[in-house]
């Protein structure tokens, strides 16, 4: 739905890096390089960002009254 605040495994606050990550990836940068630049070392944290889809942006319109 929305990027989890922390890594499920280690608790690293990955959400603080989400927007920079997704903006740079959308601009065409290699996700590996962006993750390295952001200093996200562990693969538990890396999968959090790599596998996330912001579904809330779509789902939220189904609740508007």
């Amino acid at each position: 739905m929305i990027i989890p605040v922390r890594c499920f495994t280690c608790g690293y606050p990955i959400a603080a890096k989400w927007e920079e990550f997704i903006e740079r990836v959308k601009r065409g940068e290699d996700p590996k390089k962006v993750l390295d630049d952001l200093g996200i070392k562990r693969y538990c944290c890396r999968r959090m960002l790599l596998s996330h889809v912001d579904l809330l942006r779509e789902a939220m319109y189904y609740t508007v009254r």
Binding site: M1, I2, I3, P4, V5, R6, C7, C10, G11, Y12, P13, A15, A16, W18, E19, D54, L56, R57, A59, M60, Y61, Y62, T63, V64, R65
Partner: protein, 288 residues
């Protein structure tokens, strides 16, 4: 005993410790995870929430946001977090008086409304009553609001410990690891370079005459080199009196503060034990 700093960054510290038994280093490591207190949101009053996220998801997300706690761990130290825990416990067993509870909570507010376009509500939008307690990162998305949606929340944060809930744990990583001794039997080694190739940490280096160790502290004792060696010429063994302590912070406390606080808690617990033992000195032994 010999202690040296290997690396220090904003959010992590790596210390090399010589001559201290592993159980003590391990105690400090565990206290860093479970006993050093920090601030975190513990109660959320939902005054309005027309967003697509449920109230409890919002509350959970808010609790996960690291709050700056360097000042708070002194300022709100009394009452101890154990007493605060009783305050918010659902089962009503001997709650502390209300004036005690008032002293341990910090109030924060979060209000946002999307009028004619989507907005993202960030941790930086949280307003705190105490200038010493605030979200460490300003750019954590809390919720996205569609036009017409709004939230109005009142948050109460208090000191707590990782023992009670992981949101209060100041460390995201707290590990101790061994330091290796690498021995290469020169008579057997034919300088094939296989060990250099497989080492994931690039610890080894091939010179003309021998296998050299670049930085022994980088070795993680994975023993890949041993497996790769066709001549059983290399051996890696852990040292028995040298360890590395690595602590990474969630941001709530500086990594050095975490180590210091963890050591202080351990010391005060040992002092308590010592006090008791001294008290008992001279007591007659009575058969049970």
């Amino acid at each position: 005993m010999n202690v040296s700093l290997r690396r220090i960054a904003d959010n992590a510290i790596e210390i090399l410790i010589q001559g201290l038994p592993l159980p003590i280093i391990n105690a400090i490591r565990r206290y860093a995870l479970a006993k050093v207190p920090t601030m975190a949101v513990d109660e959320v009053a939902i005054i309005a929430n027309t967003s697509a996220l449920f109230d409890e998801i919002l509350a959970h997300r808010l609790a996960m946001i690291p709050l700056y706690s360097e000042v708070a761990i002194r300022k709100y130290a009394e009452p101890p977090p154990e007493v605060c825990a009783k305050c918010t416990a659902s089962e009503a067993e001997e709650k502390p008086p209300a004036e005690v509870c008032k002293k341990c909570f910090v109030h924060l507010y979060l209000e946002a409304e999307a009028v004619d376009r989507e907005i993202v509500v960030y941790s930086g939008d949280i307003k705190s009553e105490d200038p010493d307690v605030y979200p460490v990162y300003n750019n954590i998305p809390i919720v996205i609001l569609a036009p017409g949606q709004k939230i109005l929340l009142e948050l109460r944060a208090r000191l707590g410990r990782g023992l009670e809930h992981a949101k209060w744990s100041p460390a995201t990583v707290a590990v101790s690891r061994y330091v290796a001794t690498i021995e290469v039997d020169k008579k057997r080694c034919n300088l094939c370079g296989k060990c250099v190739e497989v080492c994931p940490r690039k610890v080894l280096e091939l010179s003309n005459t021998e296998i050299k160790v670049r930085d022994i502290y980088e070795c993680i004792l994975c023993k890949q080199c041993i497996n790769a060696c066709p001549n059983k010429a290399i051996d890696v063994v852990p040292k028995s009196d040298e360890y590395i302590l690595y602590i990474e912070s969630s941001g709530a406390l500086k990594p050095a503060t975490i180590v210091r606080e963890a050591a202080n808690i351990l010391i005060s617990e040992l002092e308590e034990l010592l006090r008791k033992v001294v008290e008992w000195r001279g007591r007659k032994v009575t058969a049970q």
